[in-house]
Amino acid sequence: MQLNAIDENLLKTIADLHGIPQGAFNIRKNGQALARSSTETITIEPKQDKPGINIRIAPGTVNQSVHIPVIITESGINDVVYNTFEIGAGSNVLIVAGCGIHNPSEATSQHDGIHEFFVRTGARIRYVEKHYGEGGGTGERILNPVTILHLEEGAYAELELVQVKGVHHTFRRTEVHVGPRAHLLMNERLLTHEEQTAESEIHVHLEGDGSAGEILSRSVAKGHSKQVFRAELIGYGKCKGHVACDSIIMDQARIQALPALIANSSEAELTHEAAIGRLAGDQIAKLMTFGLTEQEAVDTLLAGYLK
């Protein structure tokens, strides 16, 4: 199997991969499996009924990682995949997904990844998903990810959902069911520019006693881009939840932030905060007193903010 320079650059950007990874992985390119590898405790198999893969992590698997990046380098592709993750009880793994599109033409390239995770009792996962688009054509790059998690008793999930740049339109939907004493930490980072649109809809159901969920979203909107952020925390029992959305707005961009709290029990403790504002003039001035130009100062501030 050969990777060309464009493939390698996309893989590096979305999954920090330098060439073919070690351990379990599945690399999908232009709607086809390019390479796949299972290990003793992590099996990756194609679905029989629809495009996508089943990833099965044996109970008790610790300190291992799975890479399942998707790259699209042809235009006019509309790729839909269903991936299902079975994370065995007591395991502790890192899963790196992500999609990079290189579209040099006039036709639209689109990838809709539907990821569903069953995180069994006491298992821990860190899930990293990066989205990135490039290519000089007028063809649009569209990414519509759906992420669904079921956290069983005492499970822990840390999500890092990042859209770096170059994605014209995105509609991201995240739904998490947090069981008793299970814990969710979700970090979302979003950058939009030019005429891009991004919509993120998050539903977190805190379903058991001692369940906890934290959603931290940071975004930057530049140019004429538009962002809508809807985050709903729904508490059923003795649970704790917090949602914070923090945005930097620039140029002629528009942002809507709509955090919502729904308590179905008097024992639910739910809080939210939201802020939209420009970069502070003093932050830019401070970095300029170090000799940075105004543009370098802004870039440094945004890079830190979205890190």
Binding site: D246, A280, M288, G291, T300, L301, A303, G304, Y305
Partner: protein
């Protein structure tokens, strides 16, 4: 030599022009340590921000070694060696102390220099290098870091705006020592400290007293003592205090 010639700064508030600095003339000589003091709202910070290029001047010229820098922006002045430590240092989400100091000092600065500077201002590098420069740092920690960032590198002009504000008592002596030491290590440097602290004031080669947007007096401590002690307090204060006993409060100014 840093020279401020007939500097005026005006801002517009509620459509009314307000003069913050009025015809300020100052000279700062290389190798000298200056303290600017005076009551709140007197224009001290505005002088500093005007030198750094953060506030545009409405009138007058600023010269650095004969070069007119009035029209240069903040970046260009920074590159000429002017460094300004803010009175209220801004915080940065997602930027680590190590990154912040490297931005201040330049990419090629050795790690040990950053560590040494942090230690000098009383911040243990082990503990602080990887902390974020955000709301996780206290006001005093922010001020120490701000001083550290200003002292890094061989700058021609270093302006510290109330470096002692928020710094605890036992850290303060050390801070004064570090600022003086850094000044001595750079023989041609102009150090300007805006301060209300006697320790800084007594360190200075020359004192500048500012009030109401103007330089009230300038010279060695003995020369300006009268201005500091008597004139800067409201000249009518004695009168008022007499009347307060009789519960008749009226301003005589």
């Amino acid at each position: 030599m840093l020279r401020l010639q007939n500097i005026s700064v005006q801002v517009t508030t509620e459509n009314e022009p307000l003069a913050i600095l009025r015809d300020v003339n100052l000279e700062f000589k290389p190798g000298c340590f200056y303290a600017i003091t005076g009551p709140n709202g007197g224009g001290k910070t505005t002088v500093a921000r005007a030198i750094a290029g953060i506030i545009p001047v409405s009138n007058g010229r600023i010269l650095l070694d004969g070069e007119d820098i009035t029209s240069l922006n903040i970046t260009e002045r920074a590159r000429l060696g002017i460094r300004y430590a803010f009175q209220n240092p801004p915080r940065f989400k997602g930027i680590e102390v190590s990154t912040f100091l490297r931005l201040a000092a330049g990419d090629d600065t050795e790690a040990k220099t950053l560590r040494r500077t942090l230690r000098q201002v009383g911040l243990c590098p082990e503990e602080y290098l990887h902390r974020m420069v955000d709301t996780g740092l206290s006001g005093g920690e922010m001020k120490r870091l701000e001083v550290a960032s200003a002292l890094l590198g061989a700058k021609r002009v270093v302006i510290l705006d109330e470096p002692e504000a928020g710094v605890d008592l036992w850290g303060f002596e050390e801070l004064v020592r570090v600022v003086s030491q850094s000044h001595r290590e750079h023989p041609d440097r102009i150090t300007i400290v805006i301060s209300h602290s006697e320790r800084f004031i007594t360190q200075a080669d020359e004192l500048i007293v500012m009030a109401e947007g103007q330089v009230q007096s300038q010279g060695r401590l003995a020369d300006v003592r009268t201005t500091l002690m008597e004139e800067l307090n409201c000249r009518w204060r004695k009168q008022c205090q007499l009347e307060e006993d009789e519960d008749a409060v009226e301003c005589h100014r």
